[in-house]
Symmetry: C2
Subunit: 227 residues, 2 copies
């Protein structure tokens, strides 16, 4: 194989990593923007979040195309093969996170038109945690760092606990004042969406561990403390 082909191959792999990171940055921003729209009761910002989705979708198609091209033209083996197939799977999770940001923005639009209810909830904290997990899972992907990936898996419990706590609070809230039901439900959905962002970040992290180590931890009941 002539040297310039190897060079092209390396450049394309680098482009693949960069595109995954770009797509991750976009959906992370979408989550942040949707949450700002929710807390500021800003319908314009909420709608802008929904409209940004096409940028995520364009990257999703681009990454799939690039990965298929790399597989077809360069017949990569072992570790590179796992990198490329992982990229293919990671985009699915990132696209779903983009959809969840859109859903948060939809709930923000609905809630902006109603009187606010203020139970002691901590949705912004959950969003911060979820975004942090996402960021670290993608750093772990580009750096092929399985320890960083494992730290993401171990963080998922916290976000699940926060969601459980919020669920109980909001159920109590609705039972005490039935007029809050539809608003409380919408906040509860946002909590559920953020919990799912955490799940997607965990999925990405688990795939990164498989990519690096060549073995799956996906179906252990608990993530191992160390690898």
């Amino acid at each position: 194989m002539p040297i310039h082909t190897d060079r092209t191959y390396e450049l394309q792999l680098e482009k693949l990593r960069a595109s995954v990171l770009e797509m991750g940055g976009l959906v992370e921003d979408q989550i942040a923007q949707a949450m700002r729209a929710l807390t500021a009761r800003d319908q314009t910002l909420a709608r802008a979040t929904i409209e940004r989705d096409h940028m995520v979708n364009r990257l999703d198609v681009e990454i799939d195309d690039l990965a298929l091209k790399l597989l077809a033209l360069h017949q990569p083996a072992a570790r590179d093969l796992r990198l490329i197939t992982t990229a293919l799977k990671v985009t699915t999770d990132l696209e779903r996170i983009g959809d969840l940001a859109e859903h948060i923005a939809e709930r923000a639009t609905e809630l902006a038109g109603e009187l606010p209810i203020k139970p002691s909830i901590d949705l912004p904290r959950m969003a911060e945690l979820a975004r942090d997990m996402l960021r670290r899972s993608l750093d772990a992907f580009v750096r092929e760092d399985e320890k960083l990936a494992l730290s993401v898996c171990n963080a998922d419990d916290t976000i699940d606990q926060l969601h459980g706590q919020l669920f109980r609070e909001l159920v109590e809230f609705m039972a005490e004042d039935p007029r809050t039901v539809s608003r409380a439900m919408r906040l509860l959905f946002v909590s559920k969406y953020l919990e799912r962002v955490g799940d997607h970040a965990t999925n990405i992290a688990e795939m990164v561990i498989f990519m690096v180590k060549g073995r799956s931890i996906r179906h252990l009941d608990r993530p191992p403390r160390e690898l």
Copy 2:
């Protein structure tokens, strides 16, 4: 390449298709079983559904391994390459459907211990629709039938409408009688899980269309009426 290698390759491709179908059949059964546990208020059946999850997980790992082996050893091109990478992505959706069946079973366990509430809801009908969509999306995958796949995408609206209707009914229900809040919420979650099963089936169908046609319809606002 000697003939027996081609033969091995064909057999392995066939095995890949069969395993995806087997995994699909398993998660479809899991949904059915979880719904039976919910309607019959049967905690033992609900727990059995949760325990079946390891069979799904075993197939998930097997399919990923086989797909990677096919990519590494046989360097497939064009249509076969798309088949194999699609199988890799389809397992992610199937695994999540298995998780959703588990969640339904968990809600069934909780609800079995409480007094039933009976709003005019139609969860079993939603489950039937979702399972039918799943079955057709996987048939479309093994038969490489893009028309069948498109029919799945067009069915997703019905299940979304049923969920929206149920959401409004249950919110009203909770507002009228606050003592029903936690039970109604659990039913609402089941409805949401079933809606997501429909979303996963739609994702699979969209990937099948890409696999067969080599172009993506994933990011059109509406699925086209015909291809």
